[in-house]
Symmetry: C2
Subunit: 398 residues, 2 copies
């Protein structure tokens, strides 16, 4: 039976495709430190978990396709605190950020249309683009240059008659980049000049270090009909399993069309939305405490990586990932080897090979993404194991 081309071509997630090797290693009694996936160990807020405990309805019913009204009302307040002024009808609650990205791509692009995206980017944009038949046109950025956005004329050179949008992840997964306001304005200017949508993935809004500030795409004047924001509570409240995100735009035509896609799938999960709703008034101190914790982790990982001869990486300014170029040829082979053949005191480390975070063929083959989502102690151990493994792998393979 012949499958579709998209089914054959869609990439296996570099974050998840090595899980069978990890499971095999676990069966053999090996302990694995998971730095492959952005699953924080931070506790989910009690406010949120209490909603599940206290759910009293007798029938677990569908909600509205655009999301529960109470939750959307409260989201307006949440965004207002971040100086993002939107109305309740500018929001569609989605099944995690993933669905918001799919709706954004489907609504802006025909099969064969193009979206310009700085690479390396969140790897699953590749999968969603394959589903939507969208061609991701990459703007390569480099660790050596702090993953800085290219000059505007270089971005404009990528625009064709099929370009429908520019897509950004800010703060960036996997780069840790936080785009300065000037860069966001540059993107906006290009979008206005060429009549393009800007799809901005802002799920790491709360995770910004060194006192930098975040510029949401929704705060740029003149971009009201072009700005589309994708969000998720997965990282914000360490609630990856709730699968609650949202799609936001002030473009009424865009929202009406996206709502039709949303109606087809009926609604996002009901109790999980109520649980997300309970987090709206979590105070700034909560995030400050978590940010301090991640800051420490960031420094541990960066310092440990710096000890590796020939490594190229830059200290992340946001999110909780770091992408690093290793002094080896094939990071996926190394990642598998770490699971299958290496251990230190019967422990090893899993991380994501980074080739899948690029659209340009061949790029990222010697790079990896590390998610610094473990506590200091575990992270320190994991990085020691990582360095020992890399040393041994290099000696074995070269």
């Amino acid at each position: 039976m012949k499958l579709s081309n998209r089914a054959i071509n869609v990439q296996a997630s570099p974050i998840r495709k090595l899980m069978p090797f990890a499971n095999e290693a676990k069966k053999k009694g090996k302990k694995i430190y998971h730095l492959n996936i952005g699953q924080p160990d931070i506790e989910t807020p009690k406010e949120m978990l209490d909603v599940y405990k206290n759910y009293e309805d007798k029938v677990l019913a569908y909600g509205p396709s655009q999301g529960l009204e109470i939750y959307r009302d409260n989201l307006v307040r949440y965004y207002g605190r971040h100086k993002i002024n939107i109305g309740v009808n500018d929001i569609i609650v989605t099944t995690a950020g993933s669905e918001a990205i799919i709706f954004a791509m489907m609504t802006t692009c025909n099969d064969g249309d193009e979206i310009i995206v700085p690479e390396p980017f969140y790897t699953n944009y590749n999968g969603f683009a394959t589903m939507a038949g969208v061609k991701l046109v990459s703007l390569t950025t480099y660790a050596e240059e702090g993953f800085k956005l290219p000059a505007s004329n270089k971005i404009e050179a990528k625009i064709t008659e099929n370009t429908k949008a520019i897509m950004l992840c800010n703060p960036g997964n996997p780069t840790g980049t936080v785009y300065p306001a000037e860069d966001m304005q540059r993107i906006a200017d290009i979008a206005i000049k060429h009549n393009l949508f800007v799809i901005s993935d802002e799920v790491y809004r709360e995770f910004i270090y060194d006192g930098l500030t975040h510029t949401s795409i929704l705060t740029i004047p003149g971009l009201e009909d072009k700005a589309i924001m994708v969000d998720s509570i997965s990282k914000r409240y360490s609630a990856c399993g709730a699968r609650i995100g949202c799609l936001i735009s002030r473009n009424k035509e865009f929202m009406a069309a996206a709502l039709k896609f949303a109606q087809a799938r009926l609604c996002p999960p009901t109790i999980d939305q109520l649980a997300a709703n309970a987090c709206i008034d979590i105070e700034a101190e909560y995030f400050e405490g978590i940010l301090k914790e991640y800051d420490k982790r960031r420094n541990i990982v960066f310092e440990e990586l710096q000890k590796i001869e020939g490594i190229i990486c830059v200290i992340p300014k946001g999110a909780f990932y770091i992408i690093a170029k290793l002094p080896i040829d094939d990071a996926e082979d190394f990642a598998k080897w770490m699971l299958e053949e290496f251990s230190l005191d019967n422990e090893t480390v899993m991380f994501a090979p980074a080739e899948g975070f690029y659209a340009t063929p061949g790029l990222g083959r010697n790079e990896i993404r590390i998610a610094y989502i473990l506590n200091e102690n575990d992270l320190g151990k994991a990085m020691k194991i990582f360095r020992a493994g890399l040393e041994k792998y290099k000696n074995n393979r070269t």
Copy 2:
């Protein structure tokens, strides 16, 4: 800003698009009996709701992309009780049946490929097909003939070089059809002869009246590499808000490709899966009780509809919908009018205009779908209001 063609063309859900009119009516204090959506009033099993209450993990984490292992293990047992023998790796847990359908379409079809489907069909197949760029090629069936499947040569006449699958809903939404084993075998024979997939939506397995038996696509010998089943717990456990379904096939290549799509979106909701898992051993008596209740409702609706002069409908054999041809021209106009202009003792009824349940343009314009998901008392009242409304509408408009 120009949107994509699919965004412009995707149909608004006939089940949900009149909700703004309903909300308007509610604001004016009108009570509405909702027969538009398959949201049962049956209580969600206590076993399921208790899982939410008793969730103890501190971190609401991602699960595996294919679904929690414990749940998939238990699903194998559930299907075994229904004489559907599958292995744990034949199952991917999805975010409701909706996502399973999207994955099935994306994995089998390229943009522009065709799926043959008896119409009227579950209306959201239209939306999912638009997302996937799939053309639904309809096999029209008629109330006058009990929505019987056409003869095999008529089905084969629809096959082109672009046909990739035949899709069925059994028991049928909105027709209430339960396909006899001979019909399922006929479909299987055609699929084998022409090398097509068969996508079988079996979410109403438990809702079959008059002692008829269900033939799952997965029980037909020789079809192992072609049979794809879509399922959901929404109706089975009256848990529409949990958004848990699954995609099942013994075709390993198909499942490996579908898993790549599943990995891109990371995972289905975690606690909701655990809640679904708690229902696996709910006993046959539970479903017998519910079936008795629905059987009564079915009879009320059918008897009330039979009192209408010029109506054409057939008594449903499964699921909890009935589709009826009314002695009017425009069922959508009538549905709106019922919300905006009609009431009886300040109460009215909402139902789904059926044009969106067809792929053939113009068909179904004078038809509606009624979901008989209210208790006998409410349903009786709703049908009385419906008949009074229809009478008045006919007199006003003709």
